[in-house]
Symmetry: C3
Subunit: 152 residues, 3 copies
Protein backbone atom coordinates (compact mmCIF):
# COMPACT_ATOMS: atom_id res chain seq x y z
CA UNK A 1 0.00 0.00 0.00
CA UNK A 2 1.64 3.24 -1.18
CA UNK A 3 1.03 5.96 1.41
CA UNK A 4 0.81 8.76 -1.17
CA UNK A 5 -1.74 6.83 -3.27
CA UNK A 6 -3.69 6.18 -0.09
CA UNK A 7 -3.62 9.93 0.73
CA UNK A 8 -5.03 10.61 -2.74
CA UNK A 9 -7.74 7.98 -2.36
CA UNK A 10 -8.77 9.53 0.94
CA UNK A 11 -8.53 13.01 -0.63
CA UNK A 12 -6.11 14.12 2.05
CA UNK A 13 -3.51 16.77 1.31
CA UNK A 14 -0.55 16.97 3.65
CA UNK A 15 -0.60 20.38 5.35
CA UNK A 16 2.31 22.83 4.98
CA UNK A 17 5.32 22.04 7.17
CA UNK A 18 4.66 23.59 10.58
CA UNK A 19 7.29 26.22 11.49
CA UNK A 20 9.48 25.60 14.56
CA UNK A 21 8.04 27.04 17.77
CA UNK A 22 11.08 26.70 19.98
CA UNK A 23 14.37 24.91 20.44
CA UNK A 24 13.72 21.36 19.24
CA UNK A 25 13.88 19.19 16.16
CA UNK A 26 10.51 18.26 14.65
CA UNK A 27 11.79 14.71 14.15
CA UNK A 28 14.73 13.09 15.91
CA UNK A 29 15.99 9.66 14.93
CA UNK A 30 17.53 7.23 17.41
CA UNK A 31 18.27 3.83 15.95
CA UNK A 32 15.26 2.95 13.82
CA UNK A 33 12.86 4.98 15.92
CA UNK A 34 11.65 8.44 14.90
CA UNK A 35 10.55 10.66 17.76
CA UNK A 36 8.14 13.32 16.50
CA UNK A 37 7.87 16.46 18.64
CA UNK A 38 4.49 17.44 20.08
CA UNK A 39 2.23 18.48 17.21
CA UNK A 40 -0.73 20.78 17.79
CA UNK A 41 -4.11 21.42 16.22
CA UNK A 42 -2.51 24.16 14.13
CA UNK A 43 -2.14 25.02 10.47
CA UNK A 44 1.19 26.49 9.38
CA UNK A 45 1.85 26.94 13.09
CA UNK A 46 -1.24 29.05 13.67
CA UNK A 47 -3.75 27.66 16.19
CA UNK A 48 -6.66 26.29 14.16
CA UNK A 49 -8.71 24.50 16.81
CA UNK A 50 -8.53 26.07 20.25
CA UNK A 51 -10.39 25.75 23.54
CA UNK A 52 -11.23 22.93 25.91
CA UNK A 53 -13.34 19.96 24.93
CA UNK A 54 -16.47 19.82 27.05
CA UNK A 55 -16.69 23.61 27.08
CA UNK A 56 -15.71 25.59 23.95
CA UNK A 57 -15.32 22.43 21.80
CA UNK A 58 -17.37 19.31 21.13
CA UNK A 59 -15.92 15.80 20.99
CA UNK A 60 -16.19 15.93 17.17
CA UNK A 61 -14.24 19.19 17.04
CA UNK A 62 -11.69 17.62 19.36
CA UNK A 63 -11.35 14.65 17.00
CA UNK A 64 -10.75 17.04 14.12
CA UNK A 65 -8.09 18.75 16.25
CA UNK A 66 -6.41 15.41 16.95
CA UNK A 67 -6.48 14.61 13.25
CA UNK A 68 -4.65 17.88 12.55
CA UNK A 69 -1.92 16.82 14.98
CA UNK A 70 -1.43 13.57 13.06
CA UNK A 71 -1.39 15.43 9.73
CA UNK A 72 1.25 17.83 11.02
CA UNK A 73 3.29 14.84 12.20
CA UNK A 74 3.05 13.31 8.72
CA UNK A 75 4.18 16.56 7.08
CA UNK A 76 7.21 16.58 9.34
CA UNK A 77 7.92 12.93 8.62
CA UNK A 78 7.59 13.48 4.87
CA UNK A 79 10.14 16.31 5.17
CA UNK A 80 12.47 14.19 7.30
CA UNK A 81 12.24 10.91 5.40
CA UNK A 82 11.58 12.09 1.88
CA UNK A 83 9.29 9.08 1.51
CA UNK A 84 6.53 8.16 3.98
CA UNK A 85 6.61 4.60 2.66
CA UNK A 86 9.77 4.11 4.70
CA UNK A 87 7.58 4.03 7.82
CA UNK A 88 7.39 0.49 9.15
CA UNK A 89 4.88 1.17 11.91
CA UNK A 90 3.33 3.57 14.37
CA UNK A 91 4.89 2.72 17.73
CA UNK A 92 3.20 5.12 20.10
CA UNK A 93 0.89 8.12 20.34
CA UNK A 94 0.71 10.29 23.45
CA UNK A 95 -2.22 12.70 23.14
CA UNK A 96 -3.04 15.55 25.47
CA UNK A 97 -6.57 16.93 25.28
CA UNK A 98 -7.44 20.36 26.74
CA UNK A 99 -10.33 19.32 28.95
CA UNK A 100 -13.07 21.26 30.72
CA UNK A 101 -13.88 20.24 34.28
CA UNK A 102 -15.78 16.96 34.17
CA UNK A 103 -14.78 16.05 30.59
CA UNK A 104 -13.79 12.39 30.50
CA UNK A 105 -13.86 11.27 26.85
CA UNK A 106 -10.19 11.89 25.97
CA UNK A 107 -9.79 8.50 24.21
CA UNK A 108 -12.59 9.33 21.76
CA UNK A 109 -10.89 12.62 20.99
CA UNK A 110 -7.53 10.93 20.45
CA UNK A 111 -9.22 8.55 18.00
CA UNK A 112 -9.23 11.47 15.55
CA UNK A 113 -5.46 11.05 15.18
CA UNK A 114 -5.47 7.27 15.42
CA UNK A 115 -8.19 6.82 12.77
CA UNK A 116 -6.15 8.80 10.26
CA UNK A 117 -3.04 6.69 10.86
CA UNK A 118 -5.13 3.52 10.65
CA UNK A 119 -6.73 4.66 7.37
CA UNK A 120 -3.33 5.46 5.87
CA UNK A 121 -1.18 2.59 7.10
CA UNK A 122 -3.69 -0.15 7.94
CA UNK A 123 -4.29 -2.09 11.17
CA UNK A 124 -0.92 -3.81 11.31
CA UNK A 125 1.35 -0.82 10.59
CA UNK A 126 -0.88 2.10 11.53
CA UNK A 127 -1.95 1.25 15.08
CA UNK A 128 0.48 1.47 18.00
CA UNK A 129 0.33 1.95 21.74
CA UNK A 130 -1.44 5.07 22.94
CA UNK A 131 -2.25 7.18 25.96
CA UNK A 132 -4.93 9.89 26.07
CA UNK A 133 -4.55 12.39 28.89
CA UNK A 134 -6.48 15.49 29.91
CA UNK A 135 -4.78 18.80 30.59
CA UNK A 136 -5.89 22.26 31.64
CA UNK A 137 -3.86 24.31 29.13
CA UNK A 138 -1.88 23.75 25.94
CA UNK A 139 0.41 26.02 23.88
CA UNK A 140 -1.47 28.72 21.97
CA UNK A 141 -4.70 27.57 23.55
CA UNK A 142 -4.90 24.61 21.15
CA UNK A 143 -7.34 21.80 21.82
CA UNK A 144 -5.01 18.84 21.26
CA UNK A 145 -1.25 18.24 21.29
CA UNK A 146 0.13 14.82 20.43
CA UNK A 147 3.61 13.36 20.18
CA UNK A 148 4.45 10.24 18.23
CA UNK A 149 7.04 7.51 17.87
CA UNK A 150 7.34 5.82 14.47
CA UNK A 151 9.53 2.89 13.44
CA UNK A 152 11.35 2.77 10.11
Amino acid sequence: MDVYKRLEELEIKLPPLPPLAGIYKPVKQAGNLLYVSGQGSTESGIPKVTGRVGQERTVEEGQYAARLCALNALSNLHQFLGDLNRIKSVVKVLAFVASAEGFHRQPEVANGASQLLLDLFGQERGVGARSAIGTNELPGGITVEAEFIFEI
Copy 2:
Protein backbone atom coordinates in the same frame (compact mmCIF):
# COMPACT_ATOMS: atom_id res chain seq x y z
CA MET B 1 12.42 -15.65 40.50
CA ASP B 2 9.33 -16.92 38.65
CA VAL B 3 6.83 -14.08 38.25
CA TYR B 4 3.78 -16.33 38.58
CA LYS B 5 5.09 -17.92 41.80
CA ARG B 6 5.78 -14.44 43.10
CA LEU B 7 2.20 -13.41 42.25
CA GLU B 8 0.96 -16.42 44.25
CA GLU B 9 3.22 -15.62 47.21
CA LEU B 10 1.89 -12.07 47.24
CA GLU B 11 -1.68 -13.39 46.78
CA ILE B 12 -2.13 -11.26 43.69
CA LYS B 13 -4.47 -12.38 40.92
CA LEU B 14 -3.99 -10.76 37.53
CA PRO B 15 -7.18 -8.85 36.66
CA PRO B 16 -9.21 -9.69 33.52
CA LEU B 17 -7.78 -8.30 30.30
CA PRO B 18 -9.05 -4.72 29.96
CA PRO B 19 -11.16 -4.24 26.81
CA LEU B 20 -9.93 -1.83 24.15
CA ALA B 21 -11.22 1.73 24.63
CA GLY B 22 -10.22 3.20 21.27
CA ILE B 23 -7.93 2.76 18.30
CA TYR B 24 -4.66 1.49 19.74
CA LYS B 25 -2.83 -1.70 20.60
CA PRO B 26 -2.55 -2.46 24.32
CA VAL B 27 1.08 -3.50 23.76
CA LYS B 28 3.28 -2.56 20.83
CA GLN B 29 6.73 -4.04 20.37
CA ALA B 30 9.59 -2.14 18.75
CA GLY B 31 12.89 -3.98 18.91
CA ASN B 32 13.11 -5.43 22.40
CA LEU B 33 10.99 -2.70 23.95
CA LEU B 34 7.32 -3.18 24.76
CA TYR B 35 5.26 0.01 24.85
CA VAL B 36 2.17 -0.48 27.01
CA SER B 37 -0.73 1.89 26.31
CA GLY B 38 -2.03 4.10 29.09
CA GLN B 39 -3.68 1.90 31.73
CA GLY B 40 -6.27 3.28 34.07
CA SER B 41 -7.57 2.57 37.56
CA THR B 42 -10.25 0.38 36.02
CA GLU B 43 -11.43 -3.21 36.32
CA SER B 44 -12.50 -4.91 33.10
CA GLY B 45 -12.47 -1.42 31.60
CA ILE B 46 -14.93 -0.02 34.12
CA PRO B 47 -13.64 2.89 36.23
CA LYS B 48 -12.93 1.49 39.68
CA VAL B 49 -11.19 4.40 41.38
CA THR B 50 -12.35 7.83 40.21
CA GLY B 51 -11.95 11.41 41.36
CA ARG B 52 -9.06 13.71 42.14
CA VAL B 53 -6.54 13.03 44.85
CA GLY B 54 -6.62 15.78 47.43
CA GLN B 55 -10.37 16.11 47.03
CA GLU B 56 -12.50 12.98 46.42
CA ARG B 57 -9.58 10.60 47.02
CA THR B 58 -6.86 10.20 49.63
CA VAL B 59 -3.21 9.49 48.84
CA GLU B 60 -3.78 5.86 49.90
CA GLU B 61 -6.72 5.51 47.51
CA GLY B 62 -4.57 7.07 44.81
CA GLN B 63 -1.86 4.49 45.47
CA TYR B 64 -4.42 1.72 45.12
CA ALA B 65 -5.50 3.32 41.82
CA ALA B 66 -1.91 3.39 40.59
CA ARG B 67 -1.52 -0.26 41.58
CA LEU B 68 -4.56 -1.12 39.44
CA CYS B 69 -2.86 0.56 36.45
CA ALA B 70 0.21 -1.65 36.92
CA LEU B 71 -1.96 -4.77 37.29
CA ASN B 72 -3.81 -3.95 34.07
CA ALA B 73 -0.46 -3.47 32.36
CA LEU B 74 0.66 -6.90 33.57
CA SER B 75 -2.56 -8.53 32.30
CA ASN B 76 -1.92 -7.00 28.90
CA LEU B 77 1.71 -8.12 28.97
CA HIS B 78 0.74 -11.65 29.97
CA GLN B 79 -1.65 -11.75 27.03
CA PHE B 80 0.97 -10.34 24.65
CA LEU B 81 3.97 -12.37 25.82
CA GLY B 82 2.36 -15.58 27.00
CA ASP B 83 4.96 -15.61 29.78
CA LEU B 84 5.71 -12.66 32.06
CA ASN B 85 9.09 -14.22 32.83
CA ARG B 86 10.25 -12.97 29.45
CA ILE B 87 10.32 -9.45 30.90
CA LYS B 88 13.92 -8.36 31.38
CA SER B 89 13.20 -5.06 33.10
CA VAL B 90 10.86 -2.15 33.68
CA VAL B 91 12.27 0.70 31.60
CA LYS B 92 9.92 3.56 32.35
CA VAL B 93 6.65 4.52 34.03
CA LEU B 94 4.82 7.73 33.19
CA ALA B 95 2.01 8.26 35.69
CA PHE B 96 -0.70 10.91 35.52
CA VAL B 97 -2.57 11.63 38.74
CA ALA B 98 -5.89 13.48 38.70
CA SER B 99 -5.08 16.21 41.19
CA ALA B 100 -7.16 18.69 43.15
CA GLU B 101 -5.90 22.25 43.35
CA GLY B 102 -2.97 22.33 45.74
CA PHE B 103 -2.31 18.57 45.67
CA HIS B 104 1.42 18.00 45.33
CA ARG B 105 2.13 14.40 46.34
CA GLN B 106 1.96 12.75 42.89
CA PRO B 107 5.17 10.72 43.42
CA GLU B 108 3.70 9.03 46.52
CA VAL B 109 0.62 8.13 44.50
CA ALA B 110 2.72 6.73 41.65
CA ASN B 111 4.55 4.56 44.19
CA GLY B 112 1.43 2.38 44.25
CA ALA B 113 2.33 1.14 40.77
CA SER B 114 6.09 1.11 41.34
CA GLN B 115 5.86 -0.87 44.58
CA LEU B 116 3.93 -3.65 42.84
CA LEU B 117 6.52 -3.91 40.06
CA LEU B 118 9.31 -3.86 42.64
CA ASP B 119 7.63 -6.60 44.68
CA LEU B 120 7.17 -8.77 41.60
CA PHE B 121 10.42 -8.28 39.74
CA GLY B 122 12.85 -7.09 42.42
CA GLN B 123 15.00 -3.95 42.62
CA GLU B 124 17.20 -4.69 39.63
CA ARG B 125 14.51 -5.69 37.10
CA GLY B 126 11.41 -4.06 38.58
CA VAL B 127 12.47 -0.44 38.99
CA GLY B 128 12.90 1.88 36.00
CA ALA B 129 12.80 5.58 35.26
CA ARG B 130 9.59 7.36 36.22
CA SER B 131 7.71 10.63 36.02
CA ALA B 132 4.69 11.53 38.13
CA ILE B 133 2.57 14.35 36.77
CA GLY B 134 -0.65 16.00 37.91
CA THR B 135 -3.60 16.51 35.60
CA ASN B 136 -7.05 18.02 35.87
CA GLU B 137 -9.05 15.27 34.11
CA LEU B 138 -8.54 11.68 32.97
CA PRO B 139 -10.66 9.32 30.84
CA GLY B 140 -13.78 8.08 32.60
CA GLY B 141 -12.95 10.26 35.57
CA ILE B 142 -10.31 7.76 36.76
CA THR B 143 -7.82 8.76 39.44
CA VAL B 144 -4.63 7.49 37.78
CA GLU B 145 -3.50 6.63 34.24
CA ALA B 146 -0.03 5.24 33.65
CA GLU B 147 1.87 4.12 30.58
CA PHE B 148 4.86 1.80 30.70
CA ILE B 149 7.88 0.67 28.73
CA PHE B 150 9.24 -2.80 29.43
CA GLU B 151 12.31 -4.51 28.00
CA ILE B 152 12.34 -8.16 26.99
Copy 3:
Protein backbone atom coordinates in the same frame (compact mmCIF):
# COMPACT_ATOMS: atom_id res chain seq x y z
CA MET C 1 33.75 19.84 22.49
CA ASP C 2 34.38 18.65 26.06
CA VAL C 3 31.19 19.04 28.10
CA TYR C 4 33.00 19.86 31.33
CA LYS C 5 35.10 22.58 29.64
CA ARG C 6 31.90 23.94 28.15
CA LEU C 7 30.29 23.99 31.61
CA GLU C 8 33.29 25.99 32.86
CA GLU C 9 33.12 28.42 29.94
CA LEU C 10 29.44 29.00 30.64
CA GLU C 11 30.20 29.27 34.39
CA ILE C 12 27.71 26.52 35.13
CA LYS C 13 28.19 24.28 38.15
CA LEU C 14 26.32 20.99 38.13
CA PRO C 15 23.91 21.00 41.09
CA PRO C 16 24.11 18.37 43.85
CA LEU C 17 22.62 15.00 42.93
CA PRO C 18 18.87 15.21 43.65
CA PRO C 19 17.78 12.66 46.28
CA LEU C 20 15.30 9.96 45.26
CA ALA C 21 11.67 10.98 45.82
CA GLY C 22 10.05 7.59 45.34
CA ILE C 23 10.47 4.14 43.84
CA TYR C 24 12.33 4.74 40.58
CA LYS C 25 15.82 4.93 39.14
CA PRO C 26 17.00 8.42 38.20
CA VAL C 27 18.47 6.98 35.00
CA LYS C 28 17.55 3.69 33.35
CA GLN C 29 19.46 2.37 30.36
CA ALA C 30 17.83 0.28 27.64
CA GLY C 31 20.12 -0.44 24.72
CA ASN C 32 21.94 2.80 24.00
CA LEU C 33 19.11 4.97 25.28
CA LEU C 34 19.14 6.57 28.72
CA TYR C 35 15.74 7.35 30.16
CA VAL C 36 15.99 10.11 32.75
CA SER C 37 13.19 10.25 35.32
CA GLY C 38 11.10 13.39 35.64
CA GLN C 39 13.31 16.18 37.01
CA GLY C 40 11.81 19.16 38.80
CA SER C 41 12.69 22.78 39.42
CA THR C 42 14.31 21.73 42.68
CA GLU C 43 17.70 22.03 44.34
CA SER C 44 18.89 19.00 46.32
CA GLY C 45 15.31 17.80 46.05
CA ILE C 46 13.84 20.90 47.66
CA PRO C 47 11.37 22.87 45.51
CA LYS C 48 13.22 25.97 44.31
CA VAL C 49 10.78 27.43 41.79
CA THR C 50 7.13 26.80 42.61
CA GLY C 51 3.76 28.09 41.42
CA ARG C 52 2.00 28.34 38.08
CA VAL C 53 3.31 30.35 35.19
CA GLY C 54 0.85 33.07 34.28
CA GLN C 55 -0.05 33.56 37.91
CA GLU C 56 2.64 33.23 40.61
CA ARG C 57 5.48 32.98 38.06
CA THR C 58 6.55 34.88 34.94
CA VAL C 59 7.69 33.23 31.71
CA GLU C 60 11.29 34.14 32.62
CA GLU C 61 10.97 32.46 36.02
CA GLY C 62 9.45 29.45 34.26
CA GLN C 63 12.44 29.30 31.93
CA TYR C 64 14.77 29.34 34.91
CA ALA C 65 12.69 26.51 36.40
CA ALA C 66 13.00 24.50 33.18
CA ARG C 67 16.75 25.10 33.18
CA LEU C 68 16.95 23.66 36.70
CA CYS C 69 15.23 20.49 35.44
CA ALA C 70 17.88 20.09 32.75
CA LEU C 71 20.68 20.73 35.25
CA ASN C 72 19.28 18.08 37.59
CA ALA C 73 19.11 15.69 34.64
CA LEU C 74 22.77 16.37 33.88
CA SER C 75 23.78 15.75 37.50
CA ASN C 76 22.03 12.41 37.35
CA LEU C 77 23.65 11.57 34.03
CA HIS C 78 27.10 12.54 35.33
CA GLN C 79 26.53 10.19 38.28
CA PHE C 80 25.28 7.39 36.02
CA LEU C 81 27.82 7.70 33.21
CA GLY C 82 30.87 9.00 35.04
CA ASP C 83 31.56 11.10 31.94
CA LEU C 84 28.99 13.34 30.24
CA ASN C 85 31.09 13.24 27.07
CA ARG C 86 29.67 9.77 26.49
CA ILE C 87 26.37 11.41 25.52
CA LYS C 88 25.88 11.13 21.78
CA SER C 89 22.70 13.21 21.59
CA VAL C 90 19.56 14.50 23.24
CA VAL C 91 16.74 12.36 21.86
CA LYS C 92 13.67 13.82 23.52
CA VAL C 93 12.44 16.26 26.15
CA LEU C 94 8.92 16.08 27.58
CA ALA C 95 8.26 19.19 29.68
CA PHE C 96 5.25 19.82 31.87
CA VAL C 97 4.62 23.42 32.88
CA ALA C 98 2.31 24.27 35.79
CA SER C 99 0.01 26.71 34.03
CA ALA C 100 -2.52 29.24 35.23
CA GLU C 101 -5.83 29.40 33.40
CA GLY C 102 -5.25 31.07 30.06
CA PHE C 103 -1.46 30.59 30.03
CA HIS C 104 -0.40 29.37 26.60
CA ARG C 105 3.36 29.95 26.27
CA GLN C 106 4.58 26.52 27.46
CA PRO C 107 7.11 26.17 24.58
CA GLU C 108 8.89 29.38 25.61
CA VAL C 109 9.11 28.06 29.15
CA ALA C 110 10.50 24.71 27.96
CA ASN C 111 13.16 26.61 26.01
CA GLY C 112 14.85 27.22 29.36
CA ALA C 113 15.84 23.55 29.42
CA SER C 114 16.46 23.26 25.69
CA GLN C 115 18.73 26.31 25.55
CA LEU C 116 21.01 24.87 28.21
CA LEU C 117 21.34 21.56 26.35
CA LEU C 118 21.97 23.43 23.11
CA ASP C 119 24.64 25.61 24.75
CA LEU C 120 26.38 22.57 26.19
CA PHE C 121 26.16 20.06 23.36
CA GLY C 122 25.62 22.20 20.27
CA GLN C 123 22.85 22.12 17.64
CA GLU C 124 23.60 18.66 16.29
CA ARG C 125 23.92 16.75 19.57
CA GLY C 126 22.03 19.01 21.98
CA VAL C 127 18.66 19.43 20.28
CA GLY C 128 16.14 16.58 20.12
CA ALA C 129 12.40 16.15 19.79
CA ARG C 130 10.29 17.93 22.40
CA SER C 131 6.79 18.38 23.71
CA ALA C 132 5.69 21.19 26.03
CA ILE C 133 2.46 20.53 27.91
CA GLY C 134 0.50 22.49 30.50
CA THR C 135 -0.67 20.95 33.75
CA ASN C 136 -2.62 22.10 36.78
CA GLU C 137 -0.37 20.65 39.52
CA LEU C 138 3.11 19.17 39.84
CA PRO C 139 4.92 17.41 42.73
CA GLY C 140 5.89 19.74 45.57
CA GLY C 141 4.15 22.60 43.77
CA ILE C 142 7.11 22.99 41.39
CA THR C 143 6.75 25.08 38.25
CA VAL C 144 8.29 22.66 35.74
CA GLU C 145 8.92 18.91 35.54
CA ALA C 146 10.74 17.46 32.55
CA GLU C 147 11.80 13.97 31.55
CA PHE C 148 14.50 13.23 29.02
CA ILE C 149 15.84 10.56 26.71
CA PHE C 150 19.53 10.69 25.81
CA GLU C 151 21.49 8.49 23.43
CA ILE C 152 25.00 7.25 24.22
